[in-house]
């Protein structure tokens, strides 16, 4: 008989008489997990459905998710929207924002700031995505190997990871970028090299947590092992955490890249790079504030959008108890 999801629940509900569940209190504190929110003895709804629905997305969160879309689209199509060529002067120098034809004004040699910011956003976001994906992918592989295989491999990999984590990341990134020469590429490599251990730690911890869960033991007892155990019973519980962390990290990587670029560790002028633009514009801060401030604001907006949306996503997942 065809049944809707709701119908199934009703059918199921009728099938077994007294059917609510007393969970025995966990034997020990599970650690950092979210604490039970209220002393209400009625945490589950009448039919147990409360467990499935987490907190709904608030207006702010919806806006943030929308804003991510806008920023990403802007960063992708931005260079085509740019009214001028970003690397050559296109008008009078030091034009303030809202000048005719130059929405964000022009810089010290008359290049259009809006055009440069749009182009810079693309390279900044692109670089951040590359760094995050590379770090997340490599870190995940290491973390899965360590957490899933365990034993000596785990200890060895985690020793190395801990070494990387114990030294200040930005320093290593700076030295790497300095050693490899002044290009965006070396900044990317520098940051990725110091960023992966975070994922390795995170993923290993998550994998070990999930592997210890009863449903994985039960699957092993059922005869499931290896790749299938990992993909079918472990990974679905780990991947949201990694995805959320990566989305939040994009914001952080954008800022770190900007800091390196500000220090001159990105591509040299006139390539439009937001951090570099801010650094070069610093000397005009008191006379023409928009030259350094506009690119800095662009960085802030991008980082904000990813930080905020990532956090909203994390809250959502935590509410669902994944």
């Amino acid at each position: 008989m065809p049944l809707s999801r709701k119908g199934i629940q009703l059918a199921v509900a009728e099938a077994a008489g007294a059917r609510t569940l007393v969970r025995k209190a966990p034997a020990a504190d599970a650690g950092a997990g979210p604490a039970p929110s209220s002393p209400s003895p009625c945490r589950r709804g009448a039919d147990g459905s409360a467990r499935r629905s987490g907190p709904a997305l608030g207006l702010g969160d919806r806006l943030a998710l929308g804003a991510v879309g806008v920023v990403v689209v802007l960063a992708i199509v931005g260079p085509w929207l740019a009214p001028y060529v970003a690397t050559v002067p296109s008008g009078e120098a030091f034009l303030p924002p809202l000048s005719d034809g130059h929405l964000l004004g022009t810089d010290a040699i008359g290049m259009d700031i809006l055009s440069r910011v749009l182009v810079g956003m693309r390279s900044s976001l692109g670089a951040a995505v590359v760094v995050t994906l590379a770090a997340a992918a490599f870190g995940t592989v290491i973390g899965v190997l360590a957490g899933f295989r365990g034993g000596w491999l785990d200890s060895a990999l985690m020793r190395v990871t801990d070494l990387f984590l114990a030294v200040p990341a930005t320093i290593i990134a700076m030295v790497m970028a300095a050693a490899l020469g002044q290009t965006l590429g070396s900044a990317i490599i520098g940051i990725a090299v110091v960023w992966w251990p975070l994922y390795a730690r995170l993923v290993r911890g998550e994998v070990r947590r999930v592997v210890a869960l009863p449903h994985v033991t039960a699957a092993q007892v059922s005869g499931v092992k290896g790749w299938r155990l990992l993909t079918r019973h472990v990974a679905p519980a780990v991947s949201p955490t990694v995805a959320v962390t990566a989305s939040i990290d994009i914001g952080g990587v954008i800022m770190t890249l900007a800091a390196l670029s500000f220090l001159g560790l990105g591509s040299p002028a006139p390539t439009p790079e937001l951090g570099r633009m801010a650094a070069d514009g610093m000397r005009y801060l008191l006379s023409s504030w928009w030259i350094p401030v506009m690119p800095s604001l662009a960085i802030t907006v991008m980082a904000f959008v990813f930080n905020y949306a990532g956090d909203a996503w994390r809250t959502l997942l935590r509410g669902r108890g994944v």
Binding site: A16, A50, R51, T217
Partner: protein, 572 residues
């Protein structure tokens, strides 16, 4: 029993929770009184509203509009509006204090016991006295400890001392011993009863356990879906229950004198019928058994024959395999240590010492012990989840299909994002005998197994989180027996369930055992459940099996001191 002026009166109390636009009535029209020095038991299954009444009396429900209440409450003759009255702040912690269920987390882990207690007793001497009143032998030492350095029973005594240090008129005890071992439970209950009666305060005792309520309380109120269905002196309610629900609760109690030949609790006819139906099919053709016994068949040939037979009749061949084996499981001289804190030998903590155990063909053996006795580790080793440091395990049956496990927390043991059907199919595919079946045969087997455990076919499409606790445990059992193992290992499968649900799960295991012809190793802390399921009961403590007796006459036959203690605790 004094019947002085009541310390608590509750009139027509109704409590509703509001969440996401829906209103759930947790308590309706409840009227209760509690006299000074009296112990009133609130008994019911989960969702009966017993804890909500406790929370109202404590004044700890949120006054932010998410909970609404009508009716009247008076404490020490002082009338209070339930939930919203600002005066609850003065009542809380003074006129009313509480002992909670979870002693592991209810004490601040960063604070020494002394610092916690001194705040209410005023001095270290007074704190030491308070601890002596709850029969803690070395109070000065305990005062210097942190909570995590103490056992659950100790922590719960400290909770009691803490609660009584405020000299309340009412003590709310919310399932105070549910998380404790049976023998510890009895001690803590005695401590609670004596200390409360010395202090002369009334006790609201919230519990799901009629036996515990009987031991503790002067009067009982039985709750079902937020209503008091029966109320009266404890002996009358227990001795001659008038309401049908109370009778059902009584019938679901596991005691040491139950008739083992019949299902326990309120019997579910549909389940029995399904079981009988399933049992009829799983007999091995006589000639196959004969050829196996005569040694005419190799193992592979035997599996092949049964697989062919299974494909022809739609019967899973492994149903048949277990019939030809003789000893299903044997553990020989198993030892196991875990690495705790500290290095080298000092850090090793031995949990099993030379454990030997045999489970015969179609035999059910129960392993009884308290937490830390090593019973769960034994089960894990039997299941191959853990490797023993020394000793051997041998399992009969098709390779990889010898043992299956039913875990305590069924909900957690089912992968939450898979449907029930996927879960069952996965198990079937990963067995040697199930793997030879066609896709359709596997689907049919999954559907058939779900019927076997008494669930409707609609459950196949559901995910575990959409099911109740009892249903989840049935699904877990279905996974274990979809391709029947030679031994079904059960790890406290009913201890997280309400009593009536627990009974039906016990019945199910019993019936499946007989109809599928499988052996059972049943690990539990509950002597009565062990006796009900098992032909033989092995008692385990401190990593050793101290004695093994026939299930039937368990209460008489147990002779070791530890065994007697368990029996006494169960009888109390």
């Amino acid at each position: 029993m004094t019947t002085a002026s009541p310390v608590l009166t509750i009139d027509d109390l109704t409590v509703q929770y509001r969440a996401r636009g829906r209103t759930v009535t947790a308590v309706s029209d409840v009227t209760l009184t509690l006299a000074a020095g009296e112990c009133l038991g609130l008994v019911g299954e989960s969702g009966s509203g017993k804890s909500t009444i406790g929370a109202v009396v404590q004044g700890i429900l949120p006054a932010d509009g998410s909970v609404t209440a009508t009716g009247a409450v008076a404490i020490d003759g002082r009338p209070l509006v339930p939930v919203t009255d600002p005066a609850w702040r003065e009542i809380r912690g003074r006129a009313v204090t509480t002992v909670f269920q979870d002693p592991m987390r209810s004490l601040d882990p960063t604070m020494r016991i002394g610092r916690m207690l001194d705040r209410y007793t005023g001095s270290a001497d007074a704190s030491a006295e308070a601890l002596e009143r709850v029969q803690i032998r070395d109070p000065r030492l305990v005062l210097r400890k942190y909570p995590h350095q103490l056992s659950g029973g100790m922590r719960q005594r400290i909770m009691i001392a803490l609660a009584l240090s405020r000299k309340p008129s009412i003590l709310v005890a919310d399932e105070p011993t549910t998380a404790l071992d049976v023998s510890v439970q009895a001690e803590v209950l005695t401590v609670l009863k004596e200390a409360a009666s010395d202090a002369g305060c009334g006790v609201i005792f919230v519990t799901h356990d009629l036996g515990v309520a009987h031991h503790m309380c002067d009067r009982l109120a039985v709750l079902q879906r937020g209503r008091v269905v029966e109320q009266g002196p404890v002996d009358e309610v227990i001795g001659a229950p008038t309401h049908e629900y109370t009778r059902r609760l009584m019938a679901s109690r596991l005691t040491l004198d139950l008739d083992r030949s019949r299902p326990v609790g309120p019997v579910d006819d549909a389940v029995v019928a399904a079981m009988a139906d399933a049992g009829a099919e799983s007999t091995v053709p006589a000639d196959l058994t004969r050829r196996w016994d005569a040694g005419e068949l190799t193992w592979d040939a035997f599996v092949g024959e049964t697989a062919a037979l299974g494909a022809a009749t739609g019967t899973p061949p492994a149903h048949l395999v277990s019939h030809v084996t003789r000893t299903s499981l044997s553990l020989n001289g198993i030892s196991k240590s875990y690495r705790g804190h500290g290095r080298g030998k000092r850090g090793l903590h031995q949990v099993l010492h030379d454990v030997s155990l045999e489970v015969g063909y179609r035999e059910a053996v129960a392993l009884v012990g308290e937490s830390g006795s090593g019973k769960s580790t034994t089960l894990k080793i039997a299941a191959g989840i853990e490797k023993p440091d020394a000793g051997t395990v041998s399992r009969q049956g098709v390779a990889g299909e010898g043992t299956q496990v039913v875990f305590q927390d069924a909900g957690a043991s089912l992968t939450p994002w898979l449907t029930v059907e996927q879960i069952l199919l996965e198990r079937i595919e990963h067995t040697r005998t199930g793997a030879v079946l066609s896709k359709e045969a596997r689907l049919a087997l999954a559907a058939k197994t779900i019927g076997l455990v008494g669930l409707p076919p609609e459950v196949l499409a559901a995910r575990p989180t959409q099911l109740s606790g009892g249903q989840q445990q049935r699904v877990a059992i279905a996974r274990a027996v979809a391709v029947p193992p030679s031994v079904l290992l059960c790890d406290e499968p009913t201890s997280a369930l309400d009593v009536s649900v627990a009974c039906s799960v016990l019945n199910l295991i019993s019936l499946l055992r007989h109809s599928l012809g499988i052996s059972v190793l049943f690990v539990t802390h509950d002597l009565a459940a062990a006796r009900l399921i098992a032909d033989r009961v092995a008692v385990m403590t401190a990593g050793r099996i101290v004695e093994t007796v026939p299930g039937e006459r368990l209460a008489h036959d147990l002779t070791t001191e530890y065994g007697r203690r368990l029996v006494d605790a169960s009888l109390a």
